[in-house]
């Protein structure tokens, strides 16, 4: 007789396939790998609890939403502003502006958790405005405006002698 639910294999596969990506998203929001690990662990537990009722095509959205909201709770409850871990000391290729030479994670620390989530979902997970809106339960217009404001803020914080021409096109 079966001892585990039939869907558990799919859950395991999803965990293996997506845990790294979700860790990166959580880190972008929280600025700390241990905190990201806690948030993603919590999210995967919740994902297990609700897995049988999640539509197959909606798993990614559900998982991201759960991770992001776990991040929000952690940021709120612990009063954690991104305690930026030591970042990989990698050279920035190319002759681009000073933005690339500066520490984006420190700049992100100046944004609200929601703004960091918008930036992470848009530019790390490469989601469309509509997809970000679905994850965050926000109107698309709000996502667009928050993205623009967050980018402006990042540009302001990371301003360098070589100005950058902002381009806030939405997909």
């Amino acid at each position: 007789m079966a001892r585990t639910p039939a869907w558990e294999g799919a859950y395991r596969d999803y965990f293996v396939a997506r845990q790294r990506s979700l860790m990166r998203t959580a880190y972008a929001v929280l600025g700390s790998w241990p905190a990201a690990e806690d948030a993603v662990q919590t999210a995967f537990t919740q994902l297990y609890v609700h897995w049988p009722r999640i539509q197959p095509g909606a798993v990614d959205t559900y998982a991201r939403r759960t991770v992001v909201h776990a991040c929000f709770r952690m940021a709120k409850v612990r009063g954690r502003e991104p305690a930026v871990d030591r970042l990989p000391d990698q050279p920035v290729p190319g002759p681009e502006s000073g933005l690339a030479r500066l520490d984006l994670m420190q700049a992100l620390a100046g944004l609200s958790p929601k703004a960091r989530a918008v930036i992470a979902l848009r530019f790390l997970d490469d989601l469309s405005v509509a997809e970000v809106a679905a994850v965050l339960d926000l109107p698309e217009g709000t996502v667009k405006s928050q993205t623009a404001r967050a980018l402006d803020r990042l540009q302001a914080v990371l301003a360098t002698p070589e100005p950058i021409e902002g381009n806030h096109h939405d997909r």
Partner: protein, 235 residues
């Protein structure tokens, strides 16, 4: 390069070397426990129609499909092994005795997903370490087509005279047997309860998806024999 592209590149670099990560075994273990609690919460409202006598008995059946289980290699691998004495709660043999009694009556069942102590303050398991304070014990099972829950409760758990809405009642030696069918959400439930004259109680439930009553593995008669077994007591 646009600001967007620079942010993309920086984010990619800053998050590329992932440090640590969630633990799959922990996610499953914690998820199973939470599913059990969640199902207990969902079921409580349904079982409330049974009557005041069942209040506080956190049943662990719900509309969700399977399962909860203690982690062990055989379980996780889905190995179809025979029920065996598994120590679900260290420090007591109530769990083993309960599982053995259920297995004797319902040999079709696999090993229990979980056997755990509970009380009126917990919908589902209470911490194992507090088993001495338990006022009921519950054993949860998953078959390929249904879920089964057996609850044995002390008399002190039953705070009011038993009243079972919509039940058929039959007098039996030492107590009264009740049968009940009801739906909760998209689930069809089958319950058989034995209210002993001393106030203690044993409940057995099986539920299947609504409209799939034929998927039920056990009969009321099998449950009646089970709930009347005098071995299903503790304390």
């Amino acid at each position: 390069m646009t600001a967007e592209q620079l942010v993309r590149d920086q984010l990619d670099r800053a998050t590329r070397d992932v440090a640590g990560g969630p633990d799959l075994a922990a996610s499953i273990r914690l998820g199973r426990r939470q599913r059990l609690r969640r199902r207990a919460g969902l079921a409580l409202a349904a079982v409330a129609v049974v009557g005041a006598g069942a209040v506080g008995v956190g049943t662990a059946l719900s509309g969700d499909s399977p399962t909860t289980a203690r982690d062990n290699p055989a379980t996780d691998a889905g190995v179809a092994d025979a029920p065996r004495a598994e120590d679900y709660v260290p420090g007591t043999d109530i769990d083993e005795r309960m599982a053995a009694t259920v297995a004797a009556h319902l040999p079709e069942l696999p090993a229990a997903d979980d056997v755990y102590p509970s009380d009126a303050d917990h919908r589902g398991p209470m911490p194992d370490a507090e088993f001495a304070q338990a006022t009921d014990w519950q054993a949860a099972y998953t078959t390929p087509s249904s879920q089964v829950l057996v609850i044995m409760a002390l008399a002190e758990e039953v705070t009011q005279p038993f009243a079972c809405d919509g039940c058929t009642a039959t007098r039996a030696p030492g107590g009264t047997l009740y049968r009940q069918k009801f739906t909760s959400g998209d689930e069809q439930w089958f319950g058989v309860y034995f209210a002993r004259d001393d106030g203690s109680m044993v409940n057995a439930f099986e539920h299947v998806p609504l409209g799939n009553a034929a998927d039920r593995v056990f009969t009321d008669r099998q449950f009646e024999a089970l709930v009347q077994d005098p071995a299903l007591t503790f304390g």
